[in-house]
Symmetry: none
Subunit: 197 residues, 4 copies
Amino acid sequence: MNATEEKARRSIGARRNPASAEAILDAAEAVLHEAGYSGFSIEAVARRARAGKPTIYRWWPSKAALLIEVYQRQKRDIVYADTGNIEEDLFQFLRSLFGSWRDTPAGNIFRSLIAEAQFDAAAAEALADYARGRRAYTGKLVERAIDRGEVARGVDPSQIADMVSSYAWTHLLTGRLDESEDKLRAAVGAIVNGIKV
Amino acid sequence: MNATEEKARRSIGARRNPASAEAILDAAEAVLHEAGYSGFSIEAVARRARAGKPTIYRWWPSKAALLIEVYQRQKRDIVYADTGNIEEDLFQFLRSLFGSWRDTPAGNIFRSLIAEAQFDAAAAEALADYARGRRAYTGKLVERAIDRGEVARGVDPSQIADMVSSYAWTHLLTGRLDESEDKLRAAVGAIVNGIKV
Amino acid sequence: MNATEEKARRSIGARRNPASAEAILDAAEAVLHEAGYSGFSIEAVARRARAGKPTIYRWWPSKAALLIEVYQRQKRDIVYADTGNIEEDLFQFLRSLFGSWRDTPAGNIFRSLIAEAQFDAAAAEALADYARGRRAYTGKLVERAIDRGEVARGVDPSQIADMVSSYAWTHLLTGRLDESEDKLRAAVGAIVNGIKV
Amino acid sequence: MNATEEKARRSIGARRNPASAEAILDAAEAVLHEAGYSGFSIEAVARRARAGKPTIYRWWPSKAALLIEVYQRQKRDIVYADTGNIEEDLFQFLRSLFGSWRDTPAGNIFRSLIAEAQFDAAAAEALADYARGRRAYTGKLVERAIDRGEVARGVDPSQIADMVSSYAWTHLLTGRLDESEDKLRAAVGAIVNGIKV
DNA sequence: ACCTAAGCGAGACGGTACGTCTCGTCTTGCG
DNA sequence: CGCAAGACGAGACGTACCGTCTCGCTTAGGT
């Protein structure tokens, strides 16, 4: 998190300078940590990173894009277990995700990102793109279960992923990341087994 | 929703002018409907209400406070059908909720409140209270189904409500309120019947 | 020229604050003097005046407008003599103008303004307006001479003024403000008496 | 004026590439013509010439240097008629000059050079040299008239030339190149015949 | 025939200034 | 004393250029 570079970085020719990219991401993280989302401006990041604003805009078209990258760098590795049991796979995924959001800055960053997307169209698009990708990824868990014959063929994997991540998002947004494991298991169980008698 | 006053209101002396307060709330609602959260600034509301900014600041110390009051004024005529079939009940609830959020200011107001709640503690509390209430209320649908013997005894009604409303919130926040009825039925179906083969 | 205010100025309500206007003009003058035209930016003026940029833009729609007002404040009173002799009147006007441009910052300010007008449309218009006014004013000398019967009736006063001020502008722009009185008299003489045998 | 090269130029080794130099000057001229001085940036010229910025900076250390060279390349086919009548000669000169400035890049180039000369010493010197030459040249019209006995002996030809070109410069700088022929004749008439009754 | 030196296009870099926007505060004068 | 009005200092927004830098290439001329 070497945010205060001792020497000015110079151009390294007509190619992206990785040192600048890293300094910017470091600075973004530091600004978010120290000033919170309300103090998070491109100007502040540029100042802190000793970078020009255009350099930031060149590589991150919106505040949201920068936030997403900071978020991804920050986020602790999420478990995508393959236990041969869809219920267990989804539970471990949720538990891992809640833990990461609880214990690292990632949760707050993602909350900021969702808020940002509510009034910035570019942020909304960036977030939608990201969420689509995550749903596809999480959907793989369900696909595997379908291939195993564990889950019915007609089920749409990305829709189940949508359900699971919606549950996670909403708990993040309303400060309920401390649900017990039983609760998480029950939530997953409802989806997997249904609630009918 | 008489937002565009044709005549300037005059002071009524050294007392709060209810007409101004109402005009401000009307204007806030209209602005949220027409320009969304991104266009929702104190300046814009003051302009629309033909009110001075200090008048707004005098009575609502923050954007969040104004949002909360606007949102509480909103009547929500969501259908809570009782068809005797939990799947149909939940589907109609979701369809009605999505429609309301799509076609009235309610959607934008709620989105804005969620966003605001991510950095304003008062808004966060108001939102949490509200969400709790909604879960309890929606949970009644499930309780009825349990009483009917349609749903298993062990199921936690408010958790199912959580799942359903999470799905709705996330779609609101990511601009996916135009899901087809089939999609909504499929989502409800997954919860009610499970996805196992 | 109290440019560095010791105390922050405060709003004085919904009216223009003369203290701010003065501070801005003082700052503009100081910046022009210290950094020259190339260092003259709205940002620099705002910084120096401890004023917000919008405050400057509110009252001076362009850099040129600000330059014009600074110029007008600066310029030493130009002599508009009324000797009863058009030749003498014009000569004294020119001598006075050249002197003012030579001995005060006014010359440099006006040069800056003309340069600015070459790439800023707003500046061009402001300059054109100003020049039109000056021509009309200077034209009065000729009008008086016409009324006296000294000058032919068909002569267009503003065109003669145009000729005289063109002569002055060009000498300003090419660094020839040190013309001898004889030269000035000869120039005026050519216009007034013609050059024919 | 083959400004839009269809093919990329190739390097010709470790020597200045005349094709690039020419393309840059062509581009500079085209940019000045189309966008005027305000659109005249090194970036714009480089873009238009498909040249790298360092290539321009290598050979022309400043905007002024580039301007001067562009301006010197400009051929000026100004009419120096010899009708045997000084008034007609000067009128045709002015009309021709105004037309050239209006219809070719020359006007914008010259305007730009004058503007640039207000803060760049090299440009100022180049401009002063040029102006001196032009005055001498235009003065020849007056000399001829003196020789013909049409104009008084004591008149300084270069001063009359100064007057005439000042009139032209000022009209160029204030966007008044569309003066009617009557106005031009009146201006010339004032100088030649005087304005006295 | 190889090697080196320099010019070339491209474009990223840290900066500065642009003109616009909204923030929350302040003061006026009317009612 | 509340109100509409709107000016104020502050500072972020996203864009345009500035002048510098480095890259990878191309080719001429010296060896």
